[in-house]
Amino acid sequence: MLDKMTNRLDFQGTALLLRAERQRLLASNIANADTPGYVARDMKFAEALSAATGGSQGKGAMSVSQEGRSGDYGTSAPGHIPLPGFSERSTLGYAVQTQPALDNNTVDLDRERAAFMDNAVRYEATLRFINGNAKTMLSAIQGQ
């Protein structure tokens, strides 16, 4: 019973954590915009979320695409031993260079800034979902 009540909150909480992590990643990219040889990183949010929730999000929660290598930990066949330290980071990728720079820096500042703002808005949206959920639960408990 209580499990059903908090299921959706769990999902949104995981989403919020991943948003915070992506925010940190984008901040690192912006910070290293002038560092020679730095390679920009980013995550595929849908894959990261489905890996983090194990594809077991509550009913009525957002459906997340399960395609890609979610949670395979660097293995491509059932007999493979998963690589250590490959679990969470497996969803991290390298950004593709749009305009090659002489110093091999692959940060595209326009893209990073746009992604940073986009991620900030989505973070806030997730916060509001959580708030709305909590309010719904509270009014259901109070029955008023």
Binding site: N32, D34, I130
Partner: protein
């Protein structure tokens, strides 16, 4: 709280860019200098940025790993009346390229602004998170 390390990352970048601005200022100030502290002509300086890991591998800050002096020869101006002139009457000025330094300055100030904006956004998000459930 993982979002707090955004402040570490961005502040490392801000201080690195501030150091770059500092170097640009010193280069521009010495653009016409004939003699540096060692009696020779001033040499333009450049900062070298390097990625600095901050705990986890997805949070990468910046640090200034070195300050390099440019080895290009300085401008030679024929001015026999100058006390610093050599036997042929040439005075060696600093090797600072003012145009290059101005471009460097604009780039540094933009990067500085970007990182300040990142910190502002992170602060707003954290404050919103504090208000969660109210």
């Amino acid at each position: 709280m993982s979002m707090f390390s955004i402040f570490n990352v961005s502040s490392s970048a801000v201080s690195a860019q501030a150091q770059r601005l500092n170097v640009v200022a010193s280069n521009l100030a010495n653009v016409d200098a004939v003699a540096g502290p060692d009696g020779k002509a001033y040499k333009a300086r450049q900062v070298v940025f390097q990625t600095a890991p901050m705990g986890s591998d997805d949070a990468a800050g910046v640090r200034v790993s070195a300050i390099q002096e440019s080895e290009t020869p300085g401008r030679k101006v024929h001015d026999p009346s100058n006390p610093m002139a050599d036997a042929d009457g040439y005075v060696t000025h600093s090797n600072v390229n003012a145009v290059e330094e101005m471009v460097n300055m604009i780039s540094a100030s933009r990067s500085y602004q970007n990182n300040v904006e990142v910190m502002n956004t992170a602060k707003t998000l954290l404050l919103k998170t504090l208000q969660m459930g109210q």
